[in-house]
């Protein structure tokens, strides 16, 4: 039997681009809370000392990274209507909403995230490909530990292409609660191996479940 809850979960997929890539995850939560207030939806609020909307996000992006696939979950009071237009129009352009729906799966089911890295390098794309086809040992930091690991363990796939001297790396990296890798490690791997990269931009493009289906 399903447990009684006084709210309905809602999921939104949004972009974090332009000016939005320069503010932190904490700023994102505040900005989204305000957008929810502006939307005039009947939002379920936490019942603590300082009532606020209940928000869950996909893993934070590093400062300076863009994304076209961020996900947030919030709650409506039970029985409240989901006015999608009001919701979408309450967000600033740098956080445009792509989709809003009632979710059927939990965010925990995300296993991988896809990224596009574009950069200029002083070595050809083939050399970068070759670098990641063998183990790449790097010091990996987590909240709990610091250890030298082979980061290619966390790379599900990596495709490279080169056009007019601009290298495009399409990477699918682990992004679950137990295993995850930031694209920053791919960039440090280049530097560690004598490849100088410039004009680097990073964009998160998709989330996947364990069977590499787009997560929804």
């Amino acid at each position: 039997m399903k447990e009684y809850v006084p709210f309905t979960d809602v999921r939104a997929v949004f972009e974090k681009t332009g000016a939005a890539k320069y503010f932190s995850h904490l700023d994102l939560t505040r900005t989204v809370s305000r957008a929810l207030r502006r939307s005039r939806l009947d939002i379920w609020m936490t019942e603590g000392f300082s009532p606020r909307p209940h928000l869950v996000f996909t893993p934070p992006l590093s400062l300076g990274y863009e994304s076209v696939c961020e996900i947030m979950d919030f709650r409506l009071n039970l029985g409240a209507e989901l006015d999608k237009d009001a919701f979408i129009s309450s967000f600033p352009p740098a956080l445009s909403i792509k989709d809003v729906y009632f979710p059927e799966r939990k965010l925990k089911e995300i296993e991988y995230a896809g990224y596009t890295l574009t950069l200029r390098a002083d070595k050809p794309a083939e050399q970068i490909s070759a670098l990641f086809s063998a183990p790449v040992m790097l010091l990996k930091k987590t909240k709990r530990s610091e250890q030298i690991v082979d980061i290619t363990k966390f790379i599900k796939s990596l495709d490279l292409s080169e056009n007019n001297g601009i290298i495009k790396m399409s990477a699918v990296l682990s992004c679950s609660g137990s295993e995850s890798l930031s694209p920053a490690y791919l960039i440090s791997a280049l530097a560690e191996n004598g490849i100088t990269a410039e004009n680097i931009s990073v964009c998160r493009t998709a989330f996947y479940d364990g069977t590499m289906n787009i997560f929804r």
């Binding site: 332009g18 320069y22 305000r34």
Partner: protein, 622 residues
């Protein structure tokens, strides 16, 4: 040439809070530069976090942008990390909206909120490659103007600023932009424009005046250098606050700024007449917004911004004539949405239990009271009109309401102050601790935190204390030592402040044109953001005073005679000099003056209103 944001990417990633420098927030105003006639860079001489918290900045930004042929953009002083990145990479200071370099703007306007921002004003011009001295800017391009509370003594910046806008800017600034547009289209030279601009009430062009000095350094004459230029500048006020411009939207910052909330302004002016308070005199006559206007404005801004805090702004919010009704109406907007209603500037003597209970309904906050002086004698001298009974009643009420934290604000160095008055600060703080323990245990918290803060009095222009000497550094140190001694064994903390910055503030507040060279020296030495303790450099100031042959004691620690020509005497701020003198004399004899609600005290400010009346009654014209 606009600055390409992509070229700043690496720089932005190397600094703290890069969102301070990107713009792109909700409700920023973006226009097509080809469709506007006047481009206005509104400069705030402090960092983004402070600028975006300033109500006046929001209002004037909106007021100018209401006009479709003017475009007002924001420019702020960057934090030193980004400032260094800009200078290292040869990037000039730019506007947040269109990323246009400062030197490409028609009008560059500064708001002067506090004296310690003066060096930042010059630094921003430097970062923007704009010549500092106004006589180095020949044409109409890069017209540098300034307004705000510190513009009431414009003289320390007289050689850098083309026009000062004295008083309230809602209408004045757009009139100035309109005239500027005419001047550019008509091909006027700068002098003609400056002269014409002085026909706008409250506008002052320092280049059209000359100051002469006596041998003792005091001013002997202040005269126009051109025929047809007025000898007196009357400040500008808005006549009717209900119909006055007020923004329907406000920029919603992405990052956490100091005052991250919706603020509405209850009234301008103050009925109290505390003798040390500059704002209380400058903002007169009293003009009140109606409950209906305030409720509508609060509702519009809360809805469009999504803020979860609403703050009431005025010099003394509990003096708002219909405060209970206003709070009831506002609670209807806020309570069910869990929006926190906050009310700074409450007076100890007149806020009720009901009011206290109402404003803490959503979220509890600390109570802050400002008795300003420890002894009743000194409180009478400064006309604070707060008694120990008032303090007893308010603190008891606040403790019974579950508050266990009270902040008390005091000043040291007030005119006529003795060591007994200083010691009385400790006595009063101890008394507040006693009040806490006298409250029934079942009603109050178990622990109490009383924090007293003693700042240093800075005499300001247009107050009854404008002639006073500020305490010397030695006097201040002595009094601070006494305070610390007296606080031993009391369950209250005392916070004191370093007096060096207050001394410079006192110099700038009552300075004259001879300080321009000092400010220039300071700006050459890289001074900026000096309201921040970490960037205030007293050695640099001493060196600049020495180099320019300026004696800071002359400005800070000298008592002026009533007959002396003061650098700001040519400004009519409403309240008359005669009234200020009378109030100074009342202070010396410890005589209090009633508040305006009890009866007019004849300050003279009501002359500036159309009917010669302020909202508290009819003032006789002096």
């Amino acid at each position: 040439m606009k600055i390409d944001m992509n070229s700043l990417h690496e720089m932005l990633l190397s600094v703290q809070k890069p969102a301070r420098y990107t713009g792109g927030e909700l409700f920023e105003c973006v226009k097509n530069e080809r469709e506007v006639d006047v481009r206005f860079a509104f400069c705030f001489p402090d960092i983004y976090d402070i600028a975006m918290s300033c109500l006046g900045y929001r209002i004037l930004y909106g007021a100018i942008n209401e006009h479709k042929n003017f475009w007002c953009e924001r420019v702020m002083q960057p934090w030193p990390d980004f400032e260094k990145a800009l200078t290292d990479n040869g990037v000039p200071l730019y506007s947040l909206e269109s990323k246009t370099p400062l030197s490409e703007f028609d009008i560059i306007g500064f708001t002067l909120q506090y004296e310690m921002c003066y060096t930042t004003v010059l630094n921003m011009l430097r970062l923007g490659n704009v010549p500092l001295y106004s006589n180095k800017r020949q044409g109409l391009k890069n017209l540098v103007i300034a307004g705000g509370p510190c513009a009431y003594n414009p003289e320390p910046l007289a050689e850098f600023i083309d026009l000062f806008c004295i008083g309230e800017g809602e209408t004045q600034l757009t009139e100035l932009c309109t005239l500027y547009d005419r001047a550019v289209k008509g091909g006027w030279d700068k002098k003609r424009f400056l002269k014409e601009a002085m026909n706008i009430t409250g506008v002052y062009a320092p280049a059209l005046y000359r100051t002469e000095y006596n041998d003792d350094g005091t001013i002997s004459a202040f005269t126009p250098t051109e025929a047809g230029v007025p000898t007196k500048i009357t400040k500008r006020i808005e006549q009717d606050l209900d119909s006055m411009y007020f923004p329907k939207t406000q920029i919603v910052p992405y990052i956490d700024v100091v005052h991250d909330r919706v603020t509405i302004e209850l009234f301008r002016g103050c009925i109290r007449g505390c003798r040390f308070c500059q704002a209380g005199m400058l903002c007169r006559p009293l003009r009140v917004k109606s409950v209906e206007t305030l409720t509508r404005q609060a509702s519009e801004l809360l809805e469009c911004t999504g803020h979860d805090q609403l703050s009431l702004c005025s010099l003394s919010s509990s003096d708002y004539p219909e405060i209970e009704r206003l709070v009831d109406e506002l609670l209807k907007l806020t309570e069910h949405k869990k929006i926190n209603l906050s009310m700074p500037s409450l007076r100890i003597d007149n806020f009720s239990k009901e009011l206290a209970e109402k404003i803490t309904r959503v979220k509890k906050s600390t109570f802050t009271f400002a008795p300003e002086a420890g002894s009743q004698r000194l409180r009478d001298v400064i006309n604070k009109n707060v008694t120990v009974e008032d303090i007893d009643r308010s603190c008891k009420m606040s403790f019974e309401n579950g508050n266990s934290s009270v902040k008390l604000y005091f000043m040291i160095g007030l005119p006529t102050e003795t060591n007994d008055d200083v010691a009385a600060i400790a006595d009063l703080s101890a008394h507040v601790v006693d009040i806490f323990f006298s409250v029934d245990k079942s009603k109050r918290n178990r622990h109490v935190t009383i924090t007293s803060s003693a700042s240093i009095f800075v005499p300001k222009p247009f107050t009854p204390f404008q002639w006073e000497a500020q305490d010397t550094l030695e006097q201040v140190f002595e009094k601070q030592a006494l305070l610390k001694e007296k606080f031993k064994g009391i369950k209250a903390q005392i916070a004191t402040h370093e007096p060096y910055m207050s001394e410079i503030e006192a110099v700038l507040a009552r300075g004259d044109r001879r300080l321009c060279s000092v400010l220039y020296e300071m700006s050459k030495s890289g001074a900026r953001l000096e309201a921040w303790d970490e960037f205030f450099d007293r050695q640099a100031w001493n060196a600049a005073f020495f180099k320019c042959g300026v004696d800071k004691d002359f400005y800070a620690h000298r008592k002026r005679g009533f007959d002396e020509i003061l650098p700001w005497d040519f400004i009519d701020a409403g309240v008359t000099k005669k009234y200020l003198k009378k109030e100074a004399e009342n202070a010396y004899s410890g005589k209090t003056t009633r508040n305006c609600a009890e009866g007019c005290t004849g300050c003279g400010a009501a002359r500036l209103t159309k009917g010669g009346k302020c909202d508290e009654g009819i003032c006789p014209v002096y």
